[in-house]
């Protein structure tokens, strides 16, 4: 069956440290992968995307890697801040480009 799994437990880190979130998938062939941020009671907000033929993408303090052999993406937030506290979702986009399948999300808390 198809699965998208993210860190199973909430992640608590100290301010200033790097947060690393994982996204593992099975039985999908994504054209690309996206990461979103979701705050309580609100819709997800797009952060970054990475194509299947890219190894790494960066945007300010964010970095995403994508390993199609391992079927895994890692999402890093460097120099984390309390304002980064939220749930982070990965989404796989399949070949049609119009269907998005989300992971369960990882709740991140950055402790001052």
């Amino acid at each position: 069956s198809q699965k998208i799994e993210q860190n199973s437990e909430a992640l608590n880190i100290q301010e200033g440290k790097t947060a690393t979130l994982t996204c593992n998938y099975t039985n999908y062939s994504p054209a690309y992968l996206q990461w979103y941020r979701q705050d309580p009671g609100r819709g997800p907000v797009f952060l970054l995307l990475i194509r299947e033929n890219e190894k790494e993408k960066r945007k300010e303090r964010l970095k995403v890697t994508f390993d199609t052999t391992l079927k895994q993406s890692l999402f890093h937030i460097t120099a984390s801040q309390p304002a980064d506290s939220a749930t982070y979702l990965c989404a796989l986009v399949v070949d049609t480009g119009n269907q998005f399948y989300f992971g369960t999300g990882t709740s991140l808390t950055v402790i001052p």
Binding site: I4, L89, A91, F100
Partner: protein, 115 residues
Amino acid sequence: DAMVIQNPRYQVTQFGKPVTLSCSQTLNHNVMYWYQQKSSQAPKLLFHYYDKDFNNEADTPDNFQSRRPNTSFCFLDIRSPGLGDAAMYLCATSRGSGRALNEQFFGPGTRLTVL
């Protein structure tokens, strides 16, 4: 500002009483989506429209229907809500495949309570 708007933000309905949730967008995007998200779970894709072309997910219950009368509006109809349908319903849009790499723009969601 261009955006995705969902009304109402909170909806209470009774078991078995039909309910309609609405979504509008000012982004002029080709694709509109409906997701169901239960507490601490992933958003689950119910269906999407590419322009007027309706695409249903295989595991979306028949109880859920959708209409897209024009580019700007999309509706989610729940014909006979059950207690298990209580959730946050998220509407999203995207430009559509073939138009660079898509990102989705989400509305704030409608939280549905079934009594």
